[in-house]
Symmetry: C2
């Protein structure tokens, strides 16, 4: 059985409230990140009173060992509507404040960023507003981002990310990217420092005083409304010339819809600990 | 016709890439935020090299004028798994660095935070990996957060937020909250400084060289897979004593599913500007 790796619990990464929901397993965290179609990437921008938050697409992977399991030590590759701001900051020779005085690049060189991946799995409806909750899986990763410069690594990450949107899509599109496309594409590699996850599943939990109130229980419906992401019927482009939607796309879409619905339903009754 | 208000474009809030997707209208931004079941809240935590990002539940509102339209100047109320960290930071007499030397509270007193709300509306599949995209609606708000101390305002925000999860849920649960519940509930009010939105809709856009390649167009399926959030059949709690799922919940659930699916489909063919 493979080693079950965990991220170290740093002061900024440790779940302090509702600790029974905390999870530090690389596998658990990486799976939440890899199945999240939109990540929220935050970093401190100089001369701004507020941190920046950008929605981006990303995926965990290992360029040096592409066959690595999801539970192993991996890098996060980010691609998306990368503003020049985040790219310029990440490109700076030493954008980590703690490294500002160092003359040689260190393992934590790069822009310090925080990446959040969150899935909503259900609305948990309890007897009182205060005991309402969500079923969810949320992960956060902390690390240092630098632009990928090696064309082979960039290509690896582009394929990884494209196939995370639709499996097998890379091979089913016009590849390889030409020189102009390679140049215009921006990929950040995030060396992970640590991370954590928080997961809630199961039904509502109410206080004893309300649970003992039979009139209340007969009046307020309690339970979970499962929530999942659905993909509708594909809408072809005006210039599409492929007769029918290809199988790799349709089968995956239908399977994801069925699996997503079933998963949210399972989470609704899978108890993980009290409120 | 009401005034169409826009947020000011500050250097940190201005959309710099793909400007035709930018939107600064209060109404557009507030609608994206209010329909987002999970917001991502970021702030700089002292003694941490990385910004903090928390998934939270929130809603725009006006305590002083509850009937205010969604396009008017509003506050953001946040509730959720508020770590003691964010609460303590927001509770500090002057947590805004720029106000550290001031002796009187100012309009921008409170913790500087950034709130992101993002909806994925579709997978946009084009001829090349580089021209792939998402249809999405994403908004970001910048402001200063302080805990709500007035019990009446707290109650207003609790009702607002509960009803954002399921409309009419507040009145259909055990209210009002008792003293202990009022005490344990943490609500942050965010005074908004500015904000922006970025929206993409429509089909894929490819480069002329690929569009002219008939073999390619006959081989690669192009179009949009619409994406929306679905709510499955409610799963009752073990202690539920209400015979059937109440109408306010079932009708809303079914309506949201139909509307969500239709909206994502509409966005798939609603052109908003080139890639």
């Amino acid at each position: 059985m493979p080693l079950r790796l965990e991220y170290p619990t740093e002061p900024y990464s440790t779940v302090k409230r509702l600790k029974d929901r905390a999870n530090y397993s690389l596998k658990t965290i990486h799976k939440i990140v890899n199945s999240c179609p939109m990540l929220h990437v935050s970093f401190q921008s100089p001369n701004s009173p507020f941190p920046a938050v950008l929605p981006m697409i990303g995926q965990m992977g290992s360029f040096k060992r592409p066959s690595a399991d999801v539970g192993e030590v991996l890098d996060l590759y980010l691609h998306g509507y990368v503003s020049s701001r985040i790219m310029n900051l990440a490109r700076a020779p030493s954008s980590s404040p703690s490294e500002a005085t160092s003359s040689t690049p260190s393992p934590d060189a790069g822009l310090p960023i925080t990446v959040a991946a969150s899935h909503l799995d259900g609305l948990v409806l309890a007897l009182t507003p205060n005991t309402h909750s969500y079923n969810y899986r949320s992960a956060v990763l902390f690390g240092h981002a630098q632009p990928v410069t090696d064309p082979a690594e960039k290509l690896y990450a582009m394929e990884l990310i494209t196939n995370s949107v639709v499996p097998q899509r890379w091979d089913n599109s016009r590849i390889p990217p030409n020189a102009a496309e390679m140049q215009s594409t921006t990929i950040l590699r995030v060396k992970i420092t640590t991370g954590s996850a928080k997961i809630r599943s199961g039904g509502p939990h109410d206080e004893k005083v309300d649970m003992d109130d039979e009139e209340l229980k007969g009046r307020v419906w309690t339970g979970v409304v499962p929530v999942h992401t659905s993909m509708g019927e594909p809408v072809e482009a005006e210039y599409n010339k492929v007769g029918k939607v290809p199988e790799y796309l349709e089968e995956w879409r239908k399977e994801m819809n069925i699996e997503g619905e079933a998963f949210a339903k399972t989470q609704a009754s899978k108890e993980m600990g009290a409120e």
